[in-house]
């Protein structure tokens, strides 16, 4: 083999192998040796896989502060949903610290950014391994919870997902979770609630034919909403009465000019337009749609029109459209005047952050309080002292907590073990001069047990829609009957 200028030596295969093996072995030995000398304890534990020594039953409660890891979107289109997670969690932590902390330990927090699945997993690992958090609250995107979940299980970190509500998480990604919990309602409930809202508010049962147009962001959430809205409409109204006249799939936050979609939708003369567009996409869409007179010709049925930042849906948003809040929480329900927990939450949140809380904020807030309650309960059950991780988990399972949205229950059995359940809200939009933006009025409270797969149901997820809920609706709901 020719070499440039004949300078360089040929390298024989033996030399190559020697170099490879020698380098790796030498490197490994030297590295391990240095580690042993410098930190023998750490090395021993790593090699033998032993955990750090845990406090025994009679160890006094540690006084060093608790470290909470928060991970969410601080930038980009997701920030409108994500930042409130940070804000809700921090508000809860501050309140708890004011009241003395959890068993006397104050909460400190470290926040990291959420990004793509790869980036989020990396940052999560750093939170656990580098920042050494004690528990974790976070995640907005449904693309990230299934990626982080298995890592959380592997690393053994109590992980409370405030969102990332995809059905996929506990139905397929981690079927038997130990450390991972999720507080906000499961994603399928969203589309189902929106469809039920449409049927009830827009009196669809009385119509002969209903023309439905769809426009959803092209990613898992949009597909999920599309599938579940469609199947509920078909089941309850009857396949022969419902006609799907158009489907648009703009990329999530990739489109600012919706006019081509709007004109296509209108050309198909729908009775209702079902959409799970949210955040900036939704604002763009409705403002542009106003110019084309969409709202005078049809009604919008949304999963998230009022769920991002409540004040983002401006006073120009037309009244009488089905208003969704991700089937979770709207700051006016239960009305603060009737429910002190919500009153305190909304007032303090507004005072702290100068905006009204959305469902993400409520979710994160409840995550922290849930953890506190579980720790306190576990401590009581073991006779005092800081509980082990296993004990905290046992306390979390089956726990019910009263949050600003009302009671939330953490499921202890399959399917969807460790999923949080609270009643779903859907409403109608109305512009309110007192607030200066469009609010959700006339809330319909949908008992969550009627729109989610019950404990013990043993079906399989639908292959195309990908959820248990889809199969469950198809198998168990009666035609022509609204099951609430």
């Amino acid at each position: 083999m020719r070499k440039w200028g004949g300078i360089l030596e040929r390298v024989s295969r033996r030399q190559f192998l020697k170099g490879l093996i020698g380098g790796l072995v030498a490197g490994g030995i030297i590295g391990a040796g240095i580690t042993y000398v410098a930190a023998p304890e750490a090395l021993r534990r790593e090699i033998t896989g032993q955990p750090s020594p845990q406090p025994g039953p009679f160890t006094p409660v540690l006084s060093r502060p608790l470290k909470m890891g928060i991970q969410t979107f601080f930038r980009g289109g997701g920030a409108v949903l994500g930042e409130p997670i940070y804000r809700g969690a921090v508000l809860a932590a501050e309140e708890i610290n004011e009241a003395g902390g959890i068993l006397g330990r104050k909460i400190e927090w470290v926040a990291r950014d959420e990004g793509t699945a790869e980036e989020s997993v990396r940052e999560y690992r750093k939170l656990v391994e580098e920042d050494k958090i004690d528990f974790y609250v976070g995640i907005t995107s449904s693309g990230n919870t299934p990626a982080i979940g298995p890592v959380a299980e592997e690393l053994g970190m109590i992980t409370l997902f405030a969102d990332g509500c995809t059905d996929f998480l506990f139905e397929q990604a981690i079927k038997n979770p130990k450390f991972v919990f999720r507080i906000t309602n499961i994603q399928s409930a969203d589309g189902i609630a929106a469809a039920i809202g449409a049927i009830k508010y827009l009196d669809l049962m009385k119509k002969d034919k209903i023309r439905v147009a769809h426009i959803h962001p092209d990613y898992a959430y949009g597909r999920n909403a599309h599938a579940h809205i469609s199947i509920v409409l078909e089941k309850v109204l009857g396949k022969d009465r419902v006609e799907f006249v158009y489907e648009g799939w703009p990329g999530l936050f990739r489109v600012t000019d919706f006019s081509p979609y709007i004109t296509e939708i209108m050309a198909n003369k729908p009775d209702i337009v079902a959409t799970s567009l949210w955040g900036g996409d939704f604002v763009n869409f409705y403002k542009q749609a106003l110019g084309y007179g969409l709202f005078s010709r049809t009604k919008l049925v949304t999963t998230l029109s009022h769920g991002a930042k409540p004040q983002a849906t401006g006073p120009d948003y037309p009244d009488g459209n089905v208003a969704g809040v991700h089937a979770n929480y709207y700051f006016l329900y239960p009305h603060p005047e009737t429910y002190p927990i919500n009153k305190s939450f909304v007032e303090r949140y507004y005072k702290r952050w100068n905006e009204y809380p959305n469902f993400e904020a409520e979710g994160a807030y409840v995550c922290v309080y849930l953890y506190k309650n579980a720790v306190e309960l576990a401590s009581k059950l073991r006779g005092g002292g800081w509980p082990e991780v296993d004990e905290i988990i046992a306390a979390l399972e089956g726990m019910t907590i009263y949050g600003p949205a009302g009671p939330l229950h953490i499921r202890a059995r399959q399917p969807n073990k460790h999923q949080g359940y609270k009643d779903a809200i859907i409403g109608i939009s109305k512009s309110d001069p007192n607030y200066g933006f469009s609010i959700l009025v006339d809330p319909l409270v949908i008992p969550i047990s009627r729109i989610t797969v019950p404990e013990g149901w043993d079906g399989t997820p639908d292959p195309k829609a990908g959820t248990l809920a889809y199969s469950w609706i198809r198998a168990t709901w009666k035609e022509g009957v609204l099951p609430i």
């Binding site: 020719r2 790796l24 490197g27 590295g31 690992r125």
Partner: protein, 342 residues
């Protein structure tokens, strides 16, 4: 009479590669113990180094800038994902093979057409093709998992079943496995670069017209470089998906192509080791920068600063510090009867 020439930086001695690999081998246990959390970054650095190495045979040596190599990253990742999902494959070796083969196949399909275009046309063409695939990954969501992607649990490495290893051991094995791959692939690349093929590629880059006059088939040579780069990046793609435990369309988005380009430039596309150094350092920079809200500002400024201050990359700076190696030749070596020996 003695002729003194400066060493051609594109074909450094193999010993530098050994040194780098040895340093990386040494570094891992230290990073793992003292800088926990950064060990993952180092692993990513190794994997991206493989991608950048492959990319550079096309860019640094053959002169074709592609802004669409995320195509092969995606193919590699989805090859692993599909093998898992539809064939139940759990072995890392097969994932890597799948990634290499998938990339090779697609590269063959588009290669002979694509390499006839140069410069900006080639860059944009590759970008457009990569984007087509990217949008397909989204659209055919019931096959690819759409935006959620396909989850890839820990594979079996070297025949060892994944379940039998605890987390830490697995990470160590995976790291050294990737490092060994980098070494082997790096060595192969080094041999290629120093072979007649490598010299021919450089000739094509330096002066296309002259190269064709000598008798080289420009298109064929470019195609070989293209195929080679595709295979390397494809392998990196499957490793990436395995390390992240997931493959999503993001891996195939053009920003990933941009990352490969950036890493290569950062290290120095005119150097054999440039892409490797660049990839490792880039991953650390990115991880640090992402701690800050304005990380894009930081990355963008770094890109501009590098081009302005050290356009030949980090290695050129290191070189200046260490000093060029001068090589003295006695011309007598070359004046034998019948010319150079092979």
């Amino acid at each position: 009479m003695v002729i003194v020439i400066k060493r051609n930086p594109l074909i450094e001695e193999i010993s530098y590669l050994y040194i780098i690999i040895a340093i990386l081998a040494l570094a891992y246990p230290l990073v793992f113990s003292f800088l926990r959390g950064w060990d993952t970054i180092l692993t990513y650095g190794i994997i991206w180094a493989i991608a950048a190495l492959g990319f550079n045979i096309l860019y640094g040596y053959t002169g074709l800038l592609s802004f669409g190599h995320a195509l092969f990253l995606g193919l590699g990742g989805y090859a692993a994902g599909f093998m898992l999902k539809y064939l139940g494959v759990r072995d890392l070796e097969l994932y890597i093979l799948g990634g290499a083969v998938a990339s090779l196949v697609i590269a063959l399909a588009i290669g002979s057409v694509v390499v006839r275009y140069t410069r900006i046309f080639f860059a944009i063409l590759m970008l457009a093709i990569a984007q087509v695939f990217w949008s397909l990954y989204y659209k055919f969501y019931w096959i690819t998992g759409g935006s959620d992607g396909i989850k890839i649990p820990r594979p079996n490495i070297l025949g060892i079943p994944s379940g039998s290893l605890d987390a830490i051991t697995y990470q160590y094995i995976f790291y050294y496995y990737s490092l060994a791959l980098l070494f082997i692939l790096g060595y192969i690349m080094w041999r290629i670069v120093n072979s007649p093929l490598g010299i021919a590629l450089r000739a094509v880059k330096d002066n296309e017209t002259r190269a064709s006059f000598i008798g080289f088939s420009i298109t064929k040579l470019r195609l070989y470089a293209f195929l080679l780069s595709a295979v390397y990046v494809g392998i990196a793609g499957s490793l990436l998906a395995v390390h992240s435990r997931i493959i999503t369309p993001e891996q195939a988005f053009w920003t990933s192509s941009g990352k490969i380009v950036f890493m290569t430039i950062l290290g120095g596309s005119g150097y054999f080791l440039g892409p490797i150094i660049g990839a490792i350092i880039y991953n650390f920079i990115e991880s640090i920068a992402m701690k800050y809200v304005y990380w894009q500002l930081i990355m963008g400024s770094i890109i501009i600063a590098i081009i302005a201050v050290m356009p030949k990359g980090l290695i050129s700076v290191i070189e200046k510090i260490i000093g060029y190696r001068e090589i003295k030749i006695q011309p007598k070596q070359y004046m034998q009867k019948g010319g150079d020996r092979s």
